[in-house]
C-alpha cells in the first residue's frame, strides 16, 4: 500500500472503514511523507513518531469504530495546543522545555474522535506574526516556492497540509493566522465564530480574539474537523453551549442561490498585479456561475489595523505577564534581584516582535494613554462590528481577498514591523467582530504561487459559510499539489 498520504480525510476514512488499509499503514505513510518533505519545508517542531504509531496500533487492535468520525486519521496541530509528549513551545525560547500538565480541549476532542496526532507544527512566536519568520526555532518554507514564507502565524500547519504531510491540521486565528497562511499555501482554512470552540489549553495571545480552527485541502474536510472540535468543554467560560450541528451533513447551496457582498474597502486595496489578476478571474468565474455579487461598504475599516493592534497588544501584554522565569519556562539564573530576574528572563528568551507587542500593550494600558488608545480602540471595535452587521443585512455572506500580495521572500519586511501589521488589513476585521470566516484557494499565479479568497458570515453561521464555500470550491480552479521549487 503506497502513497496513502495522498488521500484527503474523506478518502482515508473510506479506505479505513472498508479495511483496505489499517490505521498503522495510514499513519506510517504520513510519517514517511513528513520525513521526506521536512528537510525541504521545516513545517514541524516535533514529530510524534512513536506516540503516533503506538496509538495507531491500539486503534487497529480495537478495530474500526464508525462512531469516531476521525478514526485512524493522522492530524498535525500547531504548537500552541497543550498536549503530553514533546514540549509545547508556542514557537518561543521561553517555553522551549515546557511540558504542560493539561491537554487542550480540542486535542482531547480530536483524540476522542479517533484522530492520531502525528506532529506539532511551527508558528510565529506566541502566534504573533504573519510569516512564521518569528518562530524562535527557524522559519517554515512555502512548499510552492522554498524561497518564500508560508504566511503565519499558523504557517507550519498550512505548509504541512499543503505539502500532503497530513490531510488536516489545527491552527489558531487571532488576526488571520489560519486564513492568511492557508491562502499563501493554497489550502483551505476556517476561523470559527468566537466562542464556537473552547480555548482551554491553548497558549493565549489575545483572549478576545483567539480561536482555534481547521486547515485542510477541501471544504468537506474542514467540516469534518469542525464537527469534532466545536462545542464547549466546561473549562472556557467564553465557549458557547449552543448546539453543534453536524457540519458534514449540510443542505447544498448552488452558486446562483448566493448573494455575496464585496466590501469595497477591501477590494480597492493596493494589490500586487498577479494577485489582482487571479482575484479578477475568480470573481468572474463566481459571477458566471450565477452568484449575485454586490458591492457593500465597511466605512470604518481603515481603522481596523490600529484598533486590532492596540487591543490585541493590550491583551498580549496581560497574557504574557505570566512568563516570569519562576514557575516554568526559561529563567535567567544569574540574577539575585527579583525584578531583574523577571526582566532578564523575559528579555533573553523573547523575540523582538513579541517584545514590541508587549511594549505596545503596556503603553496603551498605562495611565495617561488608556482612554486615548485602549478605550478608544474598543469603541472603534464596536463601530466596525456595526458596519459588519449592516453590510450583512444586504447579502448572505461577504467575499473578500485574503492577502494583497503573494507569499513574499524571506526577510522582505522584517525591518518594517508596521508594514507587516498593515498587510493584515484583509483578515483582522473578522477577529474584531468575532465572526466566522473561511479562506479557500482562488488560483495560482504565473510565478507558481497560490492566493485565496475568504467568505465571512454572521456569528454561528458556519453551516451557511461551509455550504457556500463548497459551492465556490466547484467553481474556482483547483491549485493541485505544490512543486517544492527552490526559486
Amino acid at each position: 500500500m503506497t502513497e496513502l498520504w495522498r488521500l484527503d480525510l474523506g478518502q482515508a476514512t473510506l479506505g479505513l472503514s472498508s479495511r483496505r488499509f489499517s490505521a498503522t499503514e495510514l499513519v506510517s505513510s504520513a510519517l514517511e511523507r513528513i520525513r521526506e518533505t521536512e528537510p525541504l519545508i521545516g513545517a514541524c517542531l516535533a514529530v510524534l513518531e512513536e506516540q503516533a504509531l503506538a496509538r495507531a496500533r491500539e486503534l487497529d487492535e480495537a478495530g474500526y469504530d464508525e462512531t469516531k468520525p476521525l478514526w485512524g486519521l493522522p492530524i498535525a496541530v500547531k504548537d500552541v495546543f497543550c498536549l503530553a509528549g514533546p514540549p509545547t513551545t508556542a514557537g518561543s525560547k521561553i517555553l522551549a522545555n515546557y511540558h504542560p500538565v493539561f491537554e487542550a480541549a480540542v486535542v482531547r476532542k480530536l483524540k476522542e474522535a479517533g484522530a492520531v496526532i502525528v506532529a506539532k507544527t511551527n508558528c510565529d512566536e506566541f502566534a504573533m506574526g504573519s510569516s512564521t519568520e518569528f518562530s524562535a526555532f527557524g522559519p517554515t518554507k512555502n512548499p510552492w516556492r522554498l524561497d518564500r514564507v508560508p504566511g503565519g502565524s499558523s504557517g507550519g500547519a498550512a505548509a504541512s497540509v499543503a505539502a500532503f504531510q497530513t490531510a488536516g491540521g489545527l491552527g489558531t486565528d487571532t488576526g488571520g493566522s489560519i486564513r492568511q497562511p492557508a491562502a499563501l499555501c493554497g489550502c483551505f482554512g476556517l476561523k470559527p465564530t468566537y466562542g464556537r470552540v473552547s480555548r482551554y489549553g491553548i497558549v493565549a495571545y489575545g483572549s478576545s480574539f483567539d480561536q482555534a480552527g481547521p486547515l485542510a485541502r477541501n471544504v468537506d474536510d474542514l467540516a469534518r474537523l469542525l464537527t469534532v472540535i466545536a462545542g464547549p468543554d466546561g473549562r472556557d467560560s467564553t465557549a458557547s453551549s449552543r448546539e453543534v450541528p453536524d457540519y458534514r451533513r449540510l443542505d447544498p447551496v448552488k452558486p446562483n442561490e448566493l448573494t455575496l457582498g464585496l466590501p469595497k474597502e477591501l477590494w480597492s486595496a493596493d494589490f500586487e498585479p498577479e494577485v489582482a489578476k487571479i482575484l479578477a478571474e475568480a470573481k468572474e468565474r463566481i459571477a458566471a456561475a450565477g452568484a449575485t455579487l454586490k458591492e457593500v461598504s465597511l466605512p470604518n475599516l481603515r481603522f481596523s489595523v490600529a484598533t486590532y493592534y492596540i487591543l490585541a497588544a493590550a491583551e498580549a501584554s496581560t497574557n504574557l505577564a505570566r512568563y516570569d522565569g519562576v514557575r516554568y519556562g526559561f529563567r535567567d539564573g544569574e540574577e539575585n534581584e527579583l525584578v531583574a530576574l523577571y526582566r532578564n528572563s523575559r528579555t533573553k528568551a523573547m523575540g523582538a516582535e513579541v517584545k514590541r507587542r508587549i511594549m505596545l500593550g503596556a503603553f496603551v494600558l498605562s495611565s495617561g494613554y488608556y482612554d486615548a488608545y485602549f478605550r478608544k480602540a474598543a469603541q472603534v471595535r464596536r463601530l466596525i462590528w456595526q458596519d459588519y452587521s449592516k453590510a450583512l443585512e444586504q447579502c448572505d455572506l461577504l467575499l473578500a481577498p485574503v492577502s494583497s500580495i503573494l507569499a513574499w521572500p524571506f526577510g522582505a519586511f522584517t525591518a518594517d514591523p508596521l508594514k507587516v501589521y498593515q498587510l493584515d488589513m484583509m483578515t483582522l476585521p473578522l477577529n474584531l467582530v468575532g465572526a466566522p470566516g473561511l479562506s479557500l484557494p482562488a488560483g495560482l499565479s504565473e510565478s507558481g504561487l497560490p492566493t485565496g479568497l475568504q467568505l465571512m458570515g454572521r456569528a454561528f453561521e458556519e453551516p451557511r459559510l461551509l455550504a457556500a464555500a463548497k459551492a465556490l470550491e466547484g467553481v474556482l480552479p483547483p491549485v493541485g499539489a505544490p512543486s517544492f521549487r527552490s526559486t
Binding site: 519562576v326 511594549m359 503603553f363
Partner: protein, 107 residues
C-alpha cells in the same frame, strides 16, 4: 515623533523588559546605543500610526471589549487534589527549594 527614549524606558519598566544589551555594557556600548535608537524609532512609528484613531467619531459609542455572544456561567470554584499533577507542575520549575518555587531574596 511622539515617543522619546524616556517613554520607551518607562514602557520597558512596565513590560518587565530590559533595553537591548543593557546588562552587558562595556565594549558593546556603540552597538547598544544603536539598538536603543532603532527601538525608539520603531516604537515611535507604531504609536504614531495608531493616532489614526483620532479621526474616528466615537461619540456615545460603548466600548466593545469582547465579541462574546453567549456567556457561560463560570464553573464552581472547587479545589482539586491531584498529587500527580502537583509533582508534574513542580517538575517544570526552573528552581525549587523543597516543594517551593525559589526566587531571589526580596528583603
Amino acid at each position: 515623533m511622539s515617543i522619546d527614549e524616556s517613554t520607551v524606558r518607562a514602557v520597558l519598566g512596565l513590560a518587565r523588559l530590559e533595553l537591548p544589551g543593557s546588562s552587558a555594557g562595556g565594549p558593546n556600548e556603540e552597538e547598544n546605543r544603536r539598538a536603543v535608537e532603532v527601538m525608539v524609532d520603531e516604537f515611535s512609528k507604531i504609536v504614531d500610526y495608531m493616532a489614526i484613531l483620532g479621526e474616528a467619531d466615537v461619540e456615545g459609542i460603548e466600548p466593545l471589549y469582547s465579541p462574546m455572544i453567549d456567556p457561560q456561567p463560570p464553573r464552581p470554584d472547587e479545589p482539586v487534589a491531584d498529587p500527580a499533577k502537583s509533582e508534574a507542575i513542580l517538575k517544570e520549575a526552573p528552581e525549587l527549594v523543597g516543594r517551593y518555587f525559589s526566587v531571589p531574596r526580596i528583603f
